[in-house]
Every structure is written in structure tokens, then in C-alpha cells.
Amino acid sequence: MNVTLIDHGAGNVASVERALARIGVASERASTPESIASAGILLLPGVGHFAALIRALDEKALRQPLLETIGRGVPFLGICLGLQVLFESSDEAPDLAGLGLMPGRVCALPPTVKLPHMGWNTLRALGPSRLLREIPANSYFYFAHSFAAPAAPELTAATCEHGAEFAAIIERGNIFATQFHPEKSGDAGALLLRNFVSLAA
């Protein structure tokens, strides 16, 4: 089954496309409400500013079809900013409403450490994770962000720490998200993307 990549114009869709192609998974870009509504597997890449992604989704009228499609149980993976927009709001753009699929607010990482949190870090698994299946426990993943989501135990499959502990992997029902970039995380990232796609097969 093809992975539908939500192309909102504010994310590095091409690098996710290449990462999927490397593991033999076909993908197609979607930027219309219809193409999202008909998706079998959804992936939302995101880099940059919270406001840019939320505004792009709203300007293209993608918010409602996205929520409805996820609500129908279609497997969804959000990457980086694609994780953060699942929450109710973000300190990065306090006036904008997030998608509200996860409770809570995205906060800035503390200024006691170098920001952005940029580079390769390891995870702490809080419980069984479908995305981390068969991935060695000490694997490194690539992060590039200054804001992060709270590590609520009921949503969070794995956390990471940089100044504070935050949600690195979210898994709830058909909703998955990673704060790191699996498409830039070498073999470990490729395994994670494969795990996600195989959940939907």
C-alpha cells in the first residue's frame, strides 16, 4: 500500500520520500482534502515553525480531512513538527490551536542546555513499542528541535532527555509520532519506518 505524504509546503517531504524508497515503500504526495481523505497510510513530515505548519494545513483546508481520516483508524505517523502539532498548543505560537489529538502543550526546552537539541541521542523506552520493534535498545536517532512535547506516560512509548525529559515517541491506537527524524536516522530510522508501514499492511 502507498504511503500518503502530507505535502503542506513547509516540510522536507523529499527526504522522507527518499527514506521510504530506500526500504522499498512507494509513496505519493497529498496536498488536497480529497487525497488525504482517501489515504490508506498517512505520514506528516514537518520542520521549521509550529505556526507555519498549522497555517499551511488550515490554508489548504487539510485540518478537517486529516482529523477525520485519523479518526477512522487510518495509521498515522507524525515526524518532528508533525508530532508537535498533534497537541493542543505550543509555546512557539501560543495563539494557534494545534490539532488537539493529544492533550497538553508543547514547551520550549530549558535554556540550561545548547539549543536547538541538534544531533544524535538515545531513547528511554517506557513500555512496549510497536515502532521500536527489533531495534536495539541503545540505538541513536537524529533530533533537530528547540520545542518538545510533555512525556505523558499514557501516550509516550519512549522519551529522550536534553535539559528536560520529553516525548520522543508517541503511540496511541493508530496514531504514531516521533520527535526525531527517522528519515535521517540511518539504519535505526529505516527499521522504524519499516515497522510503521508494516503495521498498516
Binding site: 523529499a14 527526504s15 515553525h49 544531533g119 544524535w120 528547540s146 540511518g186
Partner: protein, 254 residues
Amino acid sequence: MSLARRIIPCLDTDGARVVKGVNFAGLRDAGDPAELAARYNAEGADELIVLDIAASRDRRPTFLETIRRVAAELAIPLTAGGGIRTLEDARSVVRAGADKITVNTAAVEQPDLISQLSEEFGAQAVVLAIDAKREADNWDVRIRGGRDSAHLDALAWAQQGVILGAGEILLTSVDRDGTQSGFDIALTAAISGSVSVPVIASGGAKLPDHFLQIFSAGAADAALAASIFHDNAQSIRLLKQFLAQRGVPVRFPC
């Protein structure tokens, strides 16, 4: 959990081929960028940087094609730079497959470019490259491939760059570049201690001990080298083993 110190090979290109030189001069051919990128990706490089050191207008399409070919080989982040003077230049580099953009001379000449890039791509995608040369007790910022003085203090420029929106500093010691006599520890420690963003140290790498020193005494978040990797004088895997044995957190591919 600990953020790994990064090892970053750098591909200086004339647009199409990897070249190398000493102190920004005397270039010679060092291989095909896509072939080298594939090798470094497999060996455990944490990122890759591709620079167009010729950066002439008519070679631009060639460099963009090089970025595309390199990006196709990588499952790690790619930074590209050299001759990026406008937001549109940066867009074309990102469209070709770069995750981050690095700017140097153009940022000195028009500091607002840093803010424009940061607004469009996010601070995490904007790498301010600073070429610094020792002058008495300070470091002078050099531009146009290290040739000219920008009449700026490197420490002050790094801090201003971060305020304008840079998310990372790529710091090259003009004095050490190409000498293989070790990174400039004093310079790197001074800059790293005065900015809130990660610093990539560059210039002078040869021995594993040089990397150990720049991560400890130099407080670098990442270290860049070119010719020692291109020539197979230093394997990335063995370098990381050396560092790991001495307590530096590094990432090994699984």
C-alpha cells in the same frame, strides 16, 4: 542518555568534483561526491557537509545536481553551502535535498539573510559558517574564502548570528585549516562558551587525539574534517572507537 558528539566529513567541491587544498589554495581532485557520501554514510558519519568553494553563477546547476546525487546516498542529515546569497538560492539548495543551509560571506555582507533563512526554514536549518583568524588577543572574521578581513570580532559575530536566527555555528580556524596540526582549541572553546547553539569545529584535524581534545578542552559539539577521511588516512569507525574508549559519547550505526 547523552547527546553524541558528531563526526562530520566535509566535501569541498568545485561544483561537480570533490577538491582539496591547503589554506584555501592549491586545489586538487579528491573524488566523486556521491561515491564519497555513500562511503561516509556506511562508515558511521553523523552528518555530511557539501560546500561549493568555486561558487560561480554559471556552475550553479552543476552544484545543485551534486546535492541531489549526494542526498540520494544519505540516511543522515546533509548541509549545503557555498555561494548562497539570497533566500531563493537557499530554496533551490533545500529543494535539491539539503536539510540545512550554511552561509558565510553573504551573511557578513547582509546579516538580515540569516533572519530570512531562519524564518523560512527554522533555526535548526541555518548554519552560520565563520572563518576566524588569530589577530593578537582576538579572532578576526575572514570572508571570500579566507582572503579578506570582515573587520568583525569572531566572538561578537557568532553571538550576533545566533540572535539573528542561526541554529548552529560552523567554526573554521583559518590558521589551522589544511595544516593537520590539530583543531584550534582556544578559538573553539571561546566561541562554544559564548553562544547558546551547537558549534562545529573545523580546520587542522589529523589524529584521533585532535578530536578527543576538541570535544573535551575545545567544548565542540561536532568536529569536521575533509582530507583525512577522503584519503582513507583516518577511518570514521576507528576514530569513534578511540573516542568511545575515552568516554566521549559517540554513535555507532546499528
